[in-house]
C-alpha cells in the first residue's frame, strides 16, 4: 500500500481522449477507479494488489493518437506511464469484458433470490456494468459439495468465479494455514482440507473479500435482510482498544450485522472476527430492559418523575462512582464530575492503577502509531503480549509490516509493490524481523524471526540489561545470540516498532518496557511504540485519571468502613470482573445502596438495589478513545426501547435527583447539548462542540437507510394501519431514507454508489484508491501533554512469582464476549503446555489428561481444572502455559499437576458437552426471540430519553 495520499507523482493519461491526472504509484486500474470512472474487476483488491487472474479489467491501450487498433491490456497489471492513451468505451474491450462475464456465468447457479450476497454482490454489479443480460450457455452446470466452515462463515462453492481472492487473502494476507485451493482445471475448490471451524481470527473478512456469495455471514443469514433494507449507523467496535470503524445494520428494531467501515489510518478494509461476529451481545438473552428498584406511576411507562421520586431520598448523600472502560467517554466524565474526583474510581484494581498511571505518563512522550504507520515498520518487537488475542487487528497489520523486506527487494529490481504475485515470488520467505519476547506461544510465532519464550521475570531482566547497554554502550557479551541480533537489528532498522501492553499484569515488566522505550527513543528517533490497554475506552479513562482516582480496593475499603460516610455505589457499566470471591462477598454483605447502570445481567446487577437499563453501543450516541488517544464517535443504529436509554441520559436524571445543585444537573436532550454543557463548565473538555455544531449545520443530516429501503408503509401496519411518523433523531443522522448526500458524510453509515452496491463502492468515496476518504473528519486526539500534573505513582503490590501463564483467546475476554453463545462454541478443549524436562520431572506423560490445581497469588484461592497435557518443544525450564476455559485472568503462583483419573476426565467431558448444548440452545433461543420481535416494531417518535417517546 502506498503510504502517502498527496504524493505529486501524477502524470497525464488520456482515457477515451480525455486527459486525467493519474498517480504512478499504483496500477492503471487503481488509477482509473481513482478518477471515479467505472471499470469492472474481480481479482485485484486495493489492499492486496494485482495478480491478473480474472481478465475482467481489460482496456484497450493505444500507441499514440494515430493508433486506431490498439491492443487489449489488463489494467490491473499495467503500470501508469506519462501520456499513455487508453479506452474504456471502445467495442473491442467492451465486448471482451462482456464475454469474460459470459464465461463466468456458464457455471453460475440460479441463486440470486436465495443468495445472501444478493443486492450487494460485486458479481451482480459487474455483470450489469458489462451489459451482459442473458445467460448464453445452455449446457449443464458444474456443482460442488459445500463444507461446514464453523460458526461464522457459510460456504456455497457453486457460486465461485475462481478469482483467487479468498485464498490470497486468507493465506497470504492474513497468514492463515487451514484454507486453500484444491483440485485441477475447471474444478478448483476453495475451502479447508476437511470441514471445521476456520482457525484464523480474521476469517470474517472472506465475506467482504469474496466478490460473490461463496462466503457469507452465517449469523447474518440466520436472521437475514437485504443490504438495501438495513438501517445502519457509523459505529466503533467496542471489543478492544484498536477502535476499528464499523457500520452496524439493523432491521425491524434488531441488530443484524457488522460490516467494515473504511478508515485509512485504522482498520482499512479489514476487521477481526470478534468485532464482526461479536455484535450479537446486544441481542443477548440477559439484556436488561426494565428498571429495578423504581416503581413507575403507570406501568410500562416510566417517567422522569418516577426516577426522581425513587432517588429523592438519596439527595445529598455520598456516593462513590465507578466508571468503566466499556462505557462511553462522556458517561465516565459525567459520573466523575457528579460524584467528585475524590469519590471516583475508573474501575481499575490497585495493580491496574499502577499500569494506568505509568501509561498516562508514557502517552505524554510517545504518540502511538496508527495501524497504517504500523504497516510501514521494518522491525517489530513485541514484549510479552499476545496481540492476536488482545488487539487482533494490530496483529494483522504487523503481518503486513513483515512483508516490507520482500517489497523492498522487489523494488530494487524495479517491481512495484502492487504486483502482488511478482513481489511474493521475488521475496520468497523473506520477512522483516519480528522478535517475540513472551511467556506463552502465540499465533505470530510462525512469522517471527525469533521467539524468546521465557518467564516474565527473565524478560524484565533482559529489558533492564538492554537499557543499561544502550545507556553505557557495554559489550554485548552477556547476551545470547538471539538477543544480540535482536538489539543489532533493532538499532539498524529504519522504522522499528515496539508493542507492549497490560495483559501480563506485571507492573515491573511494564515499567521496564517503558524505560527501555524511553532510552531507546533517544538513540533512535524513528522508533515507534505503543502500549495496548485492555479495553475499548481505556485510554479515555486515563484522560480522566488524577491523583484522587480510587482503585477498586480503595472503593471496597470505603464501602466496608463504618467510619466513612459513604451511602452507596453508582456503577457505570462495570461488572467488577476484577473482584475475587472474597471481595464479592464483602459487597454482598454490605447494606449500602448499589445503583447499577448496565445493559446485561452480571454478578453485580444481581446485588444491585437499583438498576437502570443502559443502552449498549448500538443504541447509543457517544465517543470511545482508542489506544492512540483518538476520540471516535459512534451513533445509534436504532432508537432504544424505553426505558432503556444511554448511560449519560440516566446520569442526567440521577444528577437532578441526587445532586440538584450541581452545575451539570440539567436536562439534556442530545449528545450535542451534553457536550455544550460540559464545555461551559470545563474549558478543557476535549470535544469542541461549537466547531462540530458548525460542521453539522453545513451538512444536511444523513439518512441511516438507503434510499430504496422497502416496507415503510407495511412494517408497522399490523400494529396500526396509520403510519407512524419516523423517529426524530437527536444527532446528525436520520432514522429515514431521506437525508443529505452520503458523499458529504464524514462518517458514512453505509457505502453505496450508483452501480456499486457492495462495500467495494468505497473507492467512490476515497481521494484515491486505498487513500484517505474525501470527507474524512480530522482525527481528534486527547492531548496528554496538556495534563500537567504528575501523579505520584502508587507502589505496586509485591510481584508474585508467576508459574502458570494463561492464554486468553479473543473470544473469551470480558462480559460482552461471554454473551455470544457462538463464541462459547469456539473453545475446543483445555490444554496445558510444558517442556519435556518439566513433564519428566513431574512424572507426567505427554498427550494425557491431567488435573491442574492453580492457586491465585493474591488470595490463595485454589481452583481445579482438567486439561490435556501437551509438549511445547520451544519451552525450556519450568514455564507452564495453557488455554483453560473459564479461568479467571489472575496471577497464579502455584500449580500442581497430576494425572487425571478416568472419572475426572469423563465428568469434564460431560461438562464440556453440557456447555456446548447450552450454547446451542441459547443460539436457537435468541433467534426465536428475535423473530417474534420482528413482527412487533416498537414505535418511537423521538429517539431521546424518558418522556420523549
Amino acid at each position: 500500500m502506498s503510504d502517502d495520499n498527496n504524493t505529486p507523482n501524477t502524470v497525464t493519461v488520456y482515457i477515451d481522449d480525455q486527459p486525467y491526472q493519474v498517480s504512478t504509484d499504483d496500477n492503471l486500474l487503481a488509477g482509473v477507479l481513482s478518477q471515479k470512472l467505472n471499470l469492472p474487476y474481480f481479482c485485484w483488491h486495493p489492499s492486496m494488489g494485482s495478480v491478473g487472474a480474472c481478465r475482467q479489467c481489460a482496456v484497450t491501450q493505444y500507441q499514440d493518437e494515430n493508433d486506431q487498433r490498439g491492443r487489449l491490456v489488463m489494467a490491473c497489471t499495467t503500470p501508469v506511464t506519462d501520456g499513455m492513451r487508453i479506452s474504456l468505451k471502445d467495442s473491442q474491450s467492451e465486448t471482451f469484458r462482456e464475454q469474460v462475464i459470459s464465461a463466468m456465468m456458464t457455471n453460475h447457479p440460479h441463486d440470486c433470490p436465495v443468495c445472501a450476497e444478493g443486492g450487494e454482490c460485486h458479481l451482480q454489479d459487474m455483470t450489469v456494468m458489462t451489459g451482459h443480460s442473458t445467460r448464453e450457455y445452455k449446457g449443464d452446470k458444474r456443482t460442488f459439495v459445500n463444507q461446514n466452515l464453523g460458526e461464522f462463515v457459510g460456504h456455497e462453492m457453486n457460486r465461485c468465479i475462481t478469482c483467487y481472492r479468498c485464498v490470497r487473502y486468507y493465506k497470504d494476507y492474513a497468514g492463515g494455514t487451514d484454507f486453500g485451493v484444491y483440485g485441477t482445471s475447471n474444478k478448483v475448490c476453495f475451502g479447508r482440507q476437511e470441514e471445521g471451524q476456520l482457525e484464523s481470527e480474521f476469517s470474517g473478512n472472506l465475506i467482504e473479500v469474496c466478490p460473490t456469495g461463496v462466503f457469507t455471514n452465517k449469523l447474518f443469514s440466520a436472521h437475514y435482510t437485504r443490504k438495501w433494507d438495513l438501517q445502519s449507523a457509523p459505529s466503533i467496535c467496542s471489543f478492544c482498544s484498536v477502535g476499528c470503524n464499523t457500520s452496524v445494520g439493523e432491521r425491524y428494531g434488531s441488530v443484524r450485522r457488522v460490516m467494515n467501515r473504511y478508515n485509512y489510518d485504522i482498520n482499512g478494509y479489514f476487521l477481526c472476527d470478534k468485532g464482526r461476529f461479536g455484535i450479537g451481545f446486544v441481542n443477548g438473552l440477559t439484556r436488561i430492559r426494565k428498571t429495578k428498584g423504581i416503581s413507575p406511576q403507570f406501568p410500562n411507562k416510566l417517567s422522569r418523575l418516577d426516577v426522581s421520586k425513587a432517588l429523592v431520598h438519596f439527595k445529598g448523600k455520598h456516593f462513590i462512582g465507578v466508571g468503566s472502560a466499556r462505557a462511553s467517554f462522556e458517561a465516565n466524565y459525567y459520573l466523575q464530575q457528579l460524584v467528585g474526583k475524590k469519590q471516583f474510581s475508573l474501575g481499575y484494581s490497585h495493580n491496574e492503577m499502577v499500569f494506568a498511571e505509568q501509561h498516562q505518563q508514557f502517552l505524554k512522550h510517545h504518540k502511538a502509531p496508527s495501524l497504517a504507520e504500523i504497516e510501514q515498520s521494518d522491525f517489530v518487537l513485541i514484549i510479552d503480549e499476545d496481540i492476536t488475542q488482545i488487539a487482533p487487528r494490530i496483529a494483522l497489520s504487523v503481518r503486513q509490516a513483515l512483508r516490507n523486506a520482500s517489497i523492498e527487494q522487489a523494488e530494487k529490481l524495479g517491481v512495484p509493490s502492487w504486483q502482488d504475485s511478482a513481489v511474493r515470488t521475488i521475496g520468497g520467505n523473506t520477512l522483516s524481523p519480528l522478535y517475540l519476547l513472551q511467556s506463552k506461544a502465540t499465533k505470530l510465532d510462525d512469522v517471527a524471526e525469533a521467539v524468546i519464550l521465557q518467564k516474565t521475570q527473565d524478560t524484565i531482566e533482559l529489558l533492564h540489561l538492554f537499557t543499561t547497554l544502550l545507556q553505557n554502550n557495554h559489550e554485548l557479551s552477556k547476551l545470547s545470540d538471539d538477543n544480540v541480533s535482536l538489539l543489532n537489528k533493532l538499532l539498524a532498522a529504519k522504522k522499528p516498532l515496539i508493542v507492549g501492553g497490560w495483559s501480563h499484569q506485571s507492573s515491573a515488566l511494564f515499567s521496564a518496557t517503558i524505560e527501555f522505550i524511553a532510552v531507546l527513543s533517544k538513540a533512535k528517533h524513528t522508533l515507534r511504540a505503543c502500549l495496548l490497554p485492555p479495553e475499548a475506552n481505556s485510554i479515555g479513562q486515563l484522560a480522566l485519571m488524577d491523583e484522587n482516582s480510587l482503585s477498586i480496593e480503595q472503593v471496597l475499603y470505603k464501602v466496608m468502613d463504618t467510619e466513612d460516610e459513604i451511602d452507596g455505589l453508582i456503577l457505570l457499566e462495570n461488572d467488577f470482573a476484577v473482584l475475587n470471591d472474597a471481595q464479592l462477598n464483602c459487597l454482598k454483605e454490605t447494606d449500602k445502596t448499589i445503583i447499577c447502570l448496565d445493559h446485561s445481567d452480571n454478578q453485580i446487577t444481581a446485588l444491585a438495589d437499583i438498576i437502570f437499563p443502559a443502552a449498549p453501543i448500538t443504541e447509543s450516541d457517544g465517543h470511545l478513545v482508542n489506544y492512540q488517544g483518538q476520540i471516535q464517535a459512534f451513533y445509534q443504529v436504532h432508537p432504544s426501547v424505553l426505558p432503556v436509554q444511554e448511560s449519560w441520559r440516566w446520569l442526567s436524571l440521577i444528577a437532578k435527583a441526587i445532586y440538584p445543585k450541581h452545575a451539570l444537573a440539567q436536562e439534556v436532550d442530545s449528545l450535542a447539548e451534553l457536550h455544550q454543557l460540559f464545555f461551559q463548565q470545563d474549558a478543557n473538555w476535549p470535544l469542541n462542540t461549537a466547531a462540530n455544531a458548525n460542521d453539522a449545520k453545513a451538512i444536511k443530516a444523513i439518512a441511516r437507510e438507503p434510499h430504496r429501503a422497502s416496507g415503510r408503509t407495511a412494517k408497522m401496519a399490523n400494529i396500526s394501519v396509520h403510519e407512524a411518523k419516523v423517529s426524530q433523531s437527536t444527532d446528525n443522522y436520520r432514522f429515514s431514507m431521506e437525508g443529505g448526500d452520503l458523499n458529504h458524510a464524514t462518517e458514512m453509515p453505509f457505502t453505496w454508489s450508483p452501480g456499486w452496491n457492495s462495500n467495494q463502492s468505497i473507492h467512490q468515496f476515497q481521494r484515491k484508491v486505498a487513500g484517505q476518504l474525501t470527507h474524512q473528519a480530522n482525527a481528534q486526539f486527547i492531548d496528554f501533554t496538556d495534563i500537567k500534573r504528575v501523579i505520584e505513582p502508587r507502589t505496586p503490590l509485591s510481584e508474585h512469582q508467576q508459574c502458570f501463564y494463561p492464554q486468553i483467546p479473543w473470544h473469551r475476554s470480558g462480559l460482552q464476549s461471554s454473551l455470544n453463545p457462538e463464541f462459547a462454541l469456539l473453545h475446543q478443549v483445555n490444554k496445558v503446555f510444558m517442556s519435556s524436562t518439566e513433564i519428566a520431572k513431574r512424572q507426567l506423560m505427554e498427550n494425557h489428561w491431567v488435573s491442574l490445581e492453580l492457586t491465585a497469588a493474591c488470595t490463595g484461592e485454589k481452583r481445579q481444572y482438567i486439561a490435556q497435557l501437551l509438549l511445547d518443544e520451544k519451552l525450556t525450564g519450568d514455564l507452564i502455559y495453557g488455554d483453560i476455559d473459564q479461568l479467571p485472568d489472575r496471577i497464579y503462583s502455584e500449580v500442581s499437576v497430576s494425572i487425571a483419573s478416568a472419572q475426572q476426565v469423563e465428568s469434564y467431558q460431560n461438562r464440556c458437552q453440557q456447555l456446548r448444548q447450552k450454547a446451542n440452545q441459547d443460539k436457537a433461543l435468541i433467534l426465536e426471540k428475535l423473530k417474534v420481535q420482528d413482527a412487533y416494531i416498537p414505535i418511537r417518535l423521538v429517539s431521546g430519553g424518558l418522556d420523549n417517546a
Binding site: P113, G119, K141, T713, A714
Partner: protein, 171 residues
C-alpha cells in the same frame, strides 16, 4: 346548422345501442386472468410455498407496502417468517409480480377490496397464501437453483452435473 342536426342524430342513434356499462354489483364484468387485482402468494406444484423471502417484491413496490422477514427452515428452504401487504396502500401496479423470481407473488382478477375499517386491509401471510400454483403451473424455483434442500442434493437440479470430486485427477 348541419353540424347541429348531425349531432342530434348521433345522440338519438345511441339510444338504441347496447350499453357498455354493467349493473355492478348485481352483474359482474368479465376480468381477464391477467387482470391486476388482489395479490396472492402461490405454491409450487408439489404444494410447497414458492416465496423464498428474497425481498425483491418489497423493493420493487413503489409505495413500499410489502414487508417480510426471511427464515431458513430445517428442510433448507427459505420462507417468509411473516409476509405482510398493506392493501390500503397498494396501487395494484403489479411491479411485485414482475420482480418476483419465483412466480410466488401474483395478482388476481379480484378487485373487490373494500372494507369499512382500513385496518382490515392489512393482509398477513395466512391471508395471502393460496393452495394453488396460480398462473404458472409448472415452475419450481428450487429445481433451477443450485442450493441444496431436503430431497434435492447438490447436482440434482435442472441442468446440473453431479458434484465434482475435488480429489479427482482427471482433467
Amino acid at each position: 346548422m348541419f353540424s347541429q342536426l348531425r349531432t342530434m342524430w348521433l345522440v338519438l342513434k345511441h339510444t338504441f345501442t347496447k350499453a357498455d356499462t354493467v349493473e355492478y354489483p348485481e352483474q359482474k364484468p368479465y376480468l381477464a386472468p391477467r387482470y391486476r387485482g388482489r395479490i396472492v402468494l402461490t405454491r409450487e406444484p408439489n404444494g410447497e410455498e414458492r416465496c423464498v423471502a428474497c425481498n425483491l417484491c418489497a423493493v420493487a413496490c413503489p409505495v413500499d407496502c410489502i414487508a417480510l422477514q426471511q427464515t431458513i427452515d430445517d428442510d433448507g428452504r427459505k420462507r417468509a417468517e411473516f409476509f405482510r401487504i398493506n392493501f390500503s396502500r397498494c396501487i395494484l401496479c403489479g411491479f411485485c409480480e414482475e420482480a418476483c423470481p419465483t412466480y410466488a407473488i401474483q395478482l388476481t382478477p379480484d378487485v373487490e377490496l373494500a372494507e369499512y375499517d382500513r385496518q382490515n386491509l392489512v393482509y398477513e401471510k395466512e391471508h395471502l397464501l393460496i393452495k394453488g400454483v396460480g398462473k404458472y403451473p409448472d415452475y419450481s424455483f428450487y429445481q433451477q437453483s443450485g442450493i441444496k434442500i431436503k430431497d434435492k442434493d447438490k447436482g440434482e437440479g435442472v441442468q446440473e452435473k453431479p458434484p465434482i470430486d475435488v480429489k479427482g485427477l482427471m482433467p
